[in-house]
Symmetry: C2
Subunit: 380 residues, 2 copies
DNA sequence: CGCTTGAGTGAGAACGTTCTCAATCGCTGA
DNA sequence: TCAGCGATTGAGAACGTTCTCACTCAAGCG
């Protein structure tokens, strides 16, 4: 009898000394059925007799079989993977939002591929390319800049849905999830105004790119400032002032970087102004921390000398002295909702883009109080 | 002439209405070469004439071709993916360490698949299974418990190298990266002892499982307490006390949970003891925050009434009042080193497991000071 | 009894790459 | 002119699944 050679499933070591896991073909042979039947038993599709199923499962157990998702994805067209692009996972905002995305994803059987973009446009583009090649089923992106619209739209056109997190890119065919930044900042500013403050500084954290645009008299047109939240929040700040008949003073609007030290330096500069602010609105929790640090260095007390309101309810916001008043975002829920919208779309729901605005909450603690009439007001 | 049918590459829509990206076959046809040549031109392997290469690249550009990594991985046996298993990405320690892993990975062309295990053994096992099926090239794991040794070893046996982060699992065939927890805790305790403190509480953050084992007289045998860092640190604390001739008091060792509120409650309880501690060593930054919060509620001052030393140099540690003295770990570097070790191994270096212990640094700030002799010492 | 039905099965295609191998091309040197 | 050689090329296998399709078999029905 001539042995016809068969196809003899490869035992070749691929790459390094990696031990080859048994394929479905080996399991099928061990169980005495065809690969088709083995596939059905293991994959839980089609119809298999109880007897076959048992034989296959037993063989799989014996051989330590582990399905190969790659091969499966090739066929099904689904990788069960979501890409998440954020500027920096170390930022508590994004790590908490990521947690929301990941929880929703895992709950429904999806995995999460994470990329930090570092607010770098070229890194973001590169990542978009890589994740497209990986055939992720969808993307949650906190885009660096509206300038990336074409790259993002390209991904969408290639059939990979995108949900924008925290930031918006006008004209992009994608769902968005975030808060109403303009209204939130306006509300925070109004609260400071209601406490009698008339000289309120805005710490945006923005960088050189933003600075000239924030320097325009009266903050005109800031709402059209790109993907970042800074523009919308600055607009809310301006709106509140204008409604109260106060002309925004450009020198009170700072854009000197997002790090704590940047905020401390900015604070020092602001308080050295001839007509210094009596209150500060910081657009991020790290910035608020920098303000507190600077105040301490300057020997000023918060809120007695300077009132402070921050954004984002950090772990420590309640525990420090003074407990910090903040605009709290539902950060986890932001991420979770982004995950939900994305998976809905992955599951084939073809609908027009939706834009979710989740409610913010102002948490009043002790870092902001009524303005004191300077110097002369001290009682005898 | 008979048209022999050819294999006509499928135009079938797979899954939902996903637009199908052009395959290498389509590009090859467009460029007038074989798929093999197109593959060589696009993949940068083998040899291709300048003319063919140009034709292929132009065709790819025209059609918006994007390679399919899945197919590539099937062949090459490499997914260029690292799995990262951490208890909770929201924990600043892990998000910073992850950043380290991710930076190293991206720099070398690897992507990162992230899973939160929530300190849940069954979740961890499930994730291990899923990531095995995804054929990740390697895993960075901060294991929940030594009890998972077999599952972890199984993954390693299947050919997927593992690097343990922050925690150790005795007998596991894996590299580890962490600090010398015992020495670090001993050093911190010695500093408090040097300030004259004799009644020092230890806030471990551990839970019910740990409590009985921490309650043993003299903290005997705590060093064998599982994967977590708690055991080693408690041992260091004990060592320092014993060397000074002080018998550890079990009631000063708390294991009431890792949340800030848990720490606050524990602090309140500790300070209500008949012979309350004059100093507290908190094994994590969130716990330290809870201590501060509790002290404030109790109307006690830090460090005047109670000294405090924490672990991990959080963002806010320097900015709060009082600035917190801490044992700082090189967290980012821990993650980066884990990534490097893992990728070395992925690249085929077969060596014995290495155990990296990175140096810690005690940062002295203002939250710990010399003990005051109680009550009677007030000068006239 | 013959026909329909449906569950169960296996052969082989398909997914989109890279790899193997043999064939061809264009030169070079004798 | 022709053998020899390396660069270039293409056909087709391989990776490990799922999907398609045709087939078998037993049960149910007239």
């Amino acid at each position: 009898m001539v042995w016809t050679g068969s196809s003899s499933p490869g035992v070749r070591m691929s790459g390094s000394a990696r031990r080859s896991m048994p394929s479905i073909e080996v399991v099928a042979k061990e169980a005495g059925v065809s690969t088709a039947t083995a596939g059905r038993a293991l994959g839980g599709y089609g119809s298999v007799s109880g007897k076959s199923r048992e034989a296959v499962l037993a063989a799989a157990e014996r051989l330590g079989y582990r399905a190969n998702s790659l091969a499966r994805s090739m066929i099904t067209g689904l990788t069960h993977t979501l890409g998440v692009l954020v500027p920096d996972i170390e930022n508590p905002f994004f790590s908490r939002a990521l947690r929301g995305v990941a929880d929703v994803a895992h709950e429904r059987g999806w995995e999460v591929l994470l990329v930090n973009t570092d607010e770098d446009l070229s890194l973001e583009r590169k990542a978009l390319g890589v994740l497209t090649e990986r055939r992720v089923d969808g993307l949650v992106v906190a885009p660096t800049d509206t300038a990336d619209r074409d790259a993002l739209q390209g991904v969408i056109d290639a059939g990979i849905p995108i949900v924008l997190l925290d930031r918006r890119v006008p004209g992009l065919d994608a769902d968005t999830v975030g808060i109403d930044n303009r209204a939130a900042a306006k509300d925070a500013t109004e609260r400071l105004l209601a406490l009698g403050h008339r000289s309120i500084a805005l710490l945006t954290g923005g960088d050189e790119k933003l600075r000239p645009r924030l320097a325009r008299p009266g903050l005109r047109g800031v709402e059209r400032l790109g993907a970042t939240t800074v523009g919308a929040r600055a607009a809310g700040y301006r709106d509140a002032l204008l409604e109260k008949g106060i002309e925004p003073r450009p020198e009170l609007v700072s854009a000197e970087g997002f790090r704590r030290e940047d905020a401390a330096a900015a604070t020092t500069r602001l308080l050295a102004l001839p007509d210094p602010p009596t209150a500060i609105l910081a657009l991020d929790s790290l910035l608020a921390l920098g303000v507190l640090q600077a105040l301490k260095r300057l020997g000023l007390r918060c809120p007695a000398d300077v009132s402070l309101v921050g954004f984002d309810d950090a772990d420590w916001a309640e525990a420090i002295s003074p407990p910090l008043s903040v605009v709290a975002q539902p950060v986890y829920e932001l991420g979770a909702e982004a995950g939900r919208l994305l998976l809905d779309r992955v599951h084939g729901t073809d609908r027009r883009p939706v834009h979710r605005r989740l409610p913010t909450r102002f948490i009043e603690r002790d870092s902001a109080e009524s303005v004191r009439t300077p110097a002369t007001s001290t009682p005898p």
